[in-house]
């Protein structure tokens, strides 16, 4: 009897320790999309923007792993998704040398928890923070990383105000975090869909034509 008791209770304890979780295919079939904006900004005040069409940045906490992602596999579809959404909302894409009102910064943060690990000079944790500049517009640097999180990739889109540069600092007025790209079942398709969602949940990004 004691043997039975021990056996049954052992099974019970074993099973009660099980905590089943959702399957990977169910969890990773769409990206989580978070957007933030500076409530003080009137997005209608901007008209033009610049963005790299076939290159996005990659920021990593692995030393020497920072790089650029280029090509048609991922970078171009992602950049074009951003471009298409902005164009649909009435903004005009121009070359970076044509004095755009906005710069669109797109990059992947690898192995980082986006909630904690990005470090910007003058970063306050929400849109409205300042960079010391933007590439081509002062001393811009990609954000650097101080917190290590294993095997995650978050797609970040930032909208940077180049129209109101103060003391050679530019301001991020909107951003979007899409994750996790690393675990995505189809990173390209899910990123493009996620970008569409980022703009759908940001209806204030709209250029209203002036009469």
């Amino acid at each position: 009897m004691t043997r039975y008791l021990i056996s049954v209770l052992a099974v019970a304890v074993f099973l009660s320790g099980c905590e089943p979780q959702p399957g990977a295919e169910e969890l990773y079939d769409q990206l989580v999309v978070e957007t933030n904006f500076d409530p003080a900004i009137n997005f209608n005040a901007y008209t033009t923007y610049s963005i790299s069409r076939d290159t996005i940045g990659k920021v990593s906490n692995i030393r020497g792993d920072d790089s650029l992602i280029v090509g048609n596999t991922y970078a171009r579809p992602v950049a074009e998704a951003v471009i298409n959404n902005l164009d649909e909302r009435g903004f005009i894409r121009v070359d970076r040398n044509d004095d755009p009102d906005l710069a669109i910064n797109v990059f992947i943060v690898r192995n980082l928890d986006i909630q904690q690990q990005l470090n910007y000079p003058g970063y306050y944790g929400y849109p409205g923070y300042y960079y010391p500049g933007y590439y081509g517009y002062g001393s811009y640097y990609y954000p650097y990383v101080s917190t290590y999180v294993y095997n995650t990739e978050v797609l970040v889109i930032e909208m940077i105000d180049l129209k109101n540069v103060v003391n050679n600092q530019v301001k991020v007025i909107w951003n979007a975090y899409l994750g996790d790209v690393y675990s995505a079942i189809d990173a390209r398709v899910q990123s493009v869909e996620g970008i569409g969602q980022a703009f759908r949940q940001s209806p204030y990004i709209q250029k209203i034509a002036q009469p």
Partner: protein, 205 residues
């Protein structure tokens, strides 16, 4: 609910055809499959769970009373389709899964009626008192939020033991569990559920 109806049906079917011996054992171990329906905060989870287990050890005291301990485990889950949460300064879109992991440990007593050597089915009513642990977890993509809370657990039960061999038998019971486990952040002031369990018993003399 369909699952619970099937379980009750199977239990009654088993009861009606079982050839049993009389009750002359003095110790009972049971392990049973437990199907539960949550009753609290059904906005967070409302789906019946077939992922549950109960196991216990009881001794017969003075022919009519059982006393012992029982362990319980159950997992509830619910899928929430894609939704956008808006807040000042931003928005957040995801689909997600709510999971609730429930554990209970009770000291329990039961009253067996009738108790006689020739009875084929031994119905009983019991009450368990103890502690529960509830772990409320939300999974979305690679991320998860988890909150845990302990509570005092009260668990009345009615059921039957059906011996069909000298040392083995079946059991079926309906139980109600109420725990003071509280997680106000997601709308739980307590947690309660109703469940049906069917399983096997091992008898000792």
């Amino acid at each position: 609910m369909k699952v619970m109806k099937v379980i009750v049906g199977i239990s009654l079917f088993v009861m009606s055809f079982t050839i049993v011996h009389g009750q002359d054992f003095d110790k009972v171990i049971h392990i049973s499959w437990d199907v539960n329906m949550p009753l609290s905060n059904r906005e967070w989870i409302d789906e019946t769970s077939a992922r549950g287990l109960k196991a216990g050890y009881h001794r017969l005291i003075e022919d009519k009373f059982l006393a012992g301990i029982e362990l319980g485990w159950a997992t509830y889950d619910k899928y929430q389709p894609t939704v956008t949460f808006e807040y000042p300064g931003g928005a957040f879109t995801t689909d997600y899964f709510n999971y609730l992991y429930s554990y209970g440990l009770t000291v329990s007593g039961g009253y067996v009626l009738p108790v006689g050597k020739k009875e084929k089915i031994l119905p009983y009513a019991g009450l368990g008192l103890g502690a529960s642990l509830h772990r409320y977890t939300r999974y979305y993509n690679i991320y998860q939020d988890m909150e845990s809370s302990w509570g005092f657990l009260v668990s009345p039960k009615v059921g039957a033991i059906i011996p069909f061999g000298r040392k083995i038998g079946a059991m079926a019971a309906v139980h109600y569990d109420f725990s003071t486990s509280k997680q106000e952040a997601i709308g739980y002031n307590n947690f309660s559920n109703i469940g049906v369990q069917v399983g096997i018993v091992m008898l000792s003399y």
